[in-house]
Symmetry: C2
Subunit: 361 residues, 2 copies
């Protein structure tokens, strides 16, 4: 059914080597012969077999991109950046969704390595350092995406500690002194870093983190988890029972019973889910509770209460990562590892309140 080079060759009355040359080194073939071969390819609907080609070449013209959540607009925007750059360089992108799950991630990494992709871009679920190092050692370049890397590898990231810091500083500046931190698993580096930034902001303000911050940790970084966090904040009585059943973990750094006046969610999906639930519960934002998110996804600005957020250069992040990866893949000699760190930026909107709305400083 599928015509191969041999069929094309015999139809055109040439050797397979010549057909190959038409494909890969057209200038080496006499125009007339080339035309004959091309006609034959057309007639037979010939599509070269990528596997065979790669088998010889050793590597494919594909990149692997592994993200934590394809339904999060942050990652699709990053993916667009990657894809645009890759496409221009003649590469296709295999987009994989780890769904923040360890085993899915591992499975995809395996598939990508078996496919001998030219390189892998990944936002890892865990500190997968050793496994990623092994992959690199076996010859597949790896670039860390949205995560600062160690030496010996490229990485592209936004300064998450700084991001967490400006988010919480913003709330402190507005006068808030009891702030909830709604965060995903600390195993995810971004979560850990943004948390550290939050703590730092409080310390720098000369305040006691234990008195100011209440931590609510949810098992995923999506809207559903954000809604669960809202319930946690609204019904303190439910907290302890809620924990076991929902997988929630809440470390009440702040004295129990003292409700927060503001919330910092470590991404916008959490914030949007929380916002929705607050709306249903009749909690006024920012009046009763100020909210700050992270990522500044496009939908943040359109929310019922426009969401204050920490902006990251998503598209640029993707582009830069792809550029680093392809440089490493295509020019292994000249390549030197680099670590890009972009600066986050606060975008203040209504959800945090333009005017102080809580305990005056």
């Amino acid at each position: 059914m599928a015509a191969g080079m041999k069929d094309v060759a015999s139809l055109a009355g040439v050797a397979v080597g010549t057909v190959s040359n038409v494909l890969n080194h057209p200038d080496l073939v006499r125009p007339l012969t080339r035309a004959r071969v091309e006609a034959a390819m057309e007639e037979l609907g010939f599509i070269p077999n990528g596997s065979a080609r790669q088998l010889r070449a050793g590597r494919s013209r594909c990149l692997g991109l592994v993200v934590l959540d394809v339904t999060n607009p942050f990652f699709t925007e990053v993916a667009r950046g990657v894809e645009d750059y890759a496409q221009a360089a003649g590469y296709a992108v295999i987009l994989c969704n780890s769904d923040e799950a360890d085993d899915k991630e591992r499975r995809y990494l395996r598939v990508l390595e078996e496919q001998r992709v030219r390189g892998i871009l990944i936002t890892p679920v865990h500190g997968r350092a050793p496994e990623l190092r092994r992959i690199r050692d076996r010859g597949t370049p790896v670039v860390l995406l949205d995560r600062p890397g160690s030496a010996g590898q490229c990485s592209v990231a936004v300064d998450d500690r700084r991001g967490g810091e400006i988010a919480v500083s913003h709330l402190l500046d507005l006068g808030h002194r009891r702030i909830a931190l709604v965060n995903g698993p600390l195993a995810i580096r971004q979560c850990a870093d943004r948390r550290r930034g939050a703590l730092r902001a409080v310390e720098r303000a000369g305040l006691d983190p234990a008195a100011v911050l209440t931590e609510v940790t949810v098992p995923a970084m999506n809207a559903r988890a954000g809604a669960v966090a809202a319930d946690e904040l609204l019904g303190p009585g439910l907290a302890s029972t809620g924990l076991a059943s929902t997988g929630l973990a809440s470390t009440g750094l702040a004295p129990a019973g003292r409700k927060p006046t503001a919330v910092f969610c470590t991404n916008d999906m959490l914030a949007l889910g929380l916002l929705r639930r607050l709306g249903q519960a009749g909690v006024a934002v920012p009046g009763d509770l100020a909210v700050v998110g992270y990522d500044d996804i496009e939908f943040a600005a359109d929310a019922a209460v426009p969401l204050t957020s920490v902006r990251q250069p998503k598209y640029q992040l993707g582009r830069a990562a792809a550029e680093l990866l392809l440089d490493e893949a295509d020019r292994p000699e000249e390549h030197e590892h680099r670590r890009f760190v972009f600066k986050p930026e606060l975008v203040a909107r209504a959800s945090s309140g333009e005017t102080a709305s809580a305990v005056p400083a």
Copy 2:
């Protein structure tokens, strides 16, 4: 660098065939030998070469999924459905973004065919019928996604004409008699179908489409285009000049000068973009203008004015499509082509106004 089966074989003191058996038919190998081979694989960090494997097998364990816009949550939700089913069946998914662009789509189809993917799921930009037929004839199963197909192929879709109809009927029921239809390129089947449904709704109400509907056609189905459409609606004086510079095409079916009291956007991204611009311009929704979207993406419910929309079973759509595709791929004999058509459903929210807000019926 990358260890091959030969290396594993010699380290384990067996033949390559045995190594292959350990991988593909472990039960044929004596446990002790198997253990030795596995140890060798571990020690060498052996990763089987997918290209070589596929070369023999003829086909890979990957599916191709080509969507119109990865940044549209509708498609990422569909992708999740595809991915979950594929993953369970042992397949990986290559997600490609055609960006509603003809040439990108063509390029990706080519890549997928060269990779000898097991099958292709696609929401085509144009009526790519002939090209897709050729691909199928060459042996790669193709399933149309979110689009009704003709005989001789599988397809999974939602009844878009019906969807357009219920959207506009809803507005008519609310008393609106001047409705703008903000639509993407009619070459995209969904756009054409939803438009037909809109016309039908008006006709069924015993009204004259030319008097009721004003069409605004934008070149893409995203938020930016929605904002442009809003400008078009707001500033009728700009209409004619605006056309040339923005690529807008507006067919004033309704008498010029009579402003619409409602808008039907053929997807939620358009609606959200439009909504944002209306907000900036101080237009009250639904008071001054009622708005209905399409897809019911998660963010629609969270918009500043919660968006009335036509819900599609996104995840199910993806799952069903993957199921059809893999059935065709894995059981070509028994397989018979099927056409699933899901029913759309109106989700009424504030943006269309619960109470009649326009010209009384």
